[in-house]
């Protein structure tokens, strides 16, 4: 395995940048996330700017990737090739969205805001992990 010792360092750097970006963007705040989803009320469009900025830069990364034969620190790219829109994808995403709207948290911001030491985020992350483990037990053996 190429450069396997460097991969955690790269992951730590990428994670830190991700967490900092979330903090800067205002998306750690569940009220703003719910404000974005509140299209029938006082709509707050900021999340669209966050997503737009992120997708634009990630697309540039994708364009760069297409010129590479393999990643700098690994043997190959692990990019999903499946393009079938199936029931688990749609049902799972619908369940995820319900929870996202009810709490105003998705996994990234929930984990990043653990650093603030607030009880509701701790509780959210504990139940999120329980939900993940419940899924993996229920539908074990399914490639994720």
């Amino acid at each position: 395995m190429r450069h396997s010792k460097l991969r955690p360092v790269a992951a730590l750097a990428a994670g830190t940048l991700f967490g900092f970006g979330l903090a800067l963007s205002g998306m750690l705040d569940p009220v703003r996330v719910q404000g974005f989803l509140d299209i029938f009320g006082a709509w707050d469009p900021s999340l669209a700017f966050v997503l737009g900025g992120a997708v634009a830069v990630a697309m540039a990364g994708m364009a760069w990737l297409r010129r590479m034969s393999r990643p700098l620190l690994a043997d190959r790219f692990h990019v999903p090739m499946n393009s079938r829109i199936d029931a688990p994808l749609v049902i799972g995403s619908a369940i995820f969205g319900l929870g996202w709207g009810l709490g105003g948290f998705c996994p990234g911001p929930a984990l990043a805001s653990l650093s603030l030491g607030l009880t509701p985020t701790l509780v959210f992350v504990a139940f999120m992990l329980a939900g993940m483990i419940a899924h993996d037990r229920f539908l074990a053996g399914r490639p994720s």
Binding site: F96, G103, M128, L129
Partner: protein
Amino acid sequence: MTSYLVSLLGGALIGLSCAILLILNGRIAGVSGIVGKVVQGIDVWTNAAFVAGLLLGPVVYFAAFHHWPTVTVTASLPLIMLAGLLVGFGSRMGSGCTSGHGVMGLARLSPRSIAAVLTFLASGIAAVALLRGAAL
């Protein structure tokens, strides 16, 4: 207006993080997938390092700006518990969340991710409309 620019900049940094993880490690920056791998014990060091970085990000923010980012939780604790279960279960079942499908999936123009994003936006909008209607 400046708040939108700051959001755009924060988003761009998130996109940069995704590009770095892909170009260096060859991996999609999908937070639910990465956490799932830590739980399942797959490539633990690398995946746990990304999660540790996520937590470190707001600390760097505090070091730079001398205040913590705003986190205002209005939901009651039982609602938070329900939301956590749904987010955990749903993101694993749907093979991704706002990062894997929302950022990387859209950047890859993946049909699966586009379907996932439209679905969770719709159910998220429905959940918030429900909350506002029921005044929970």
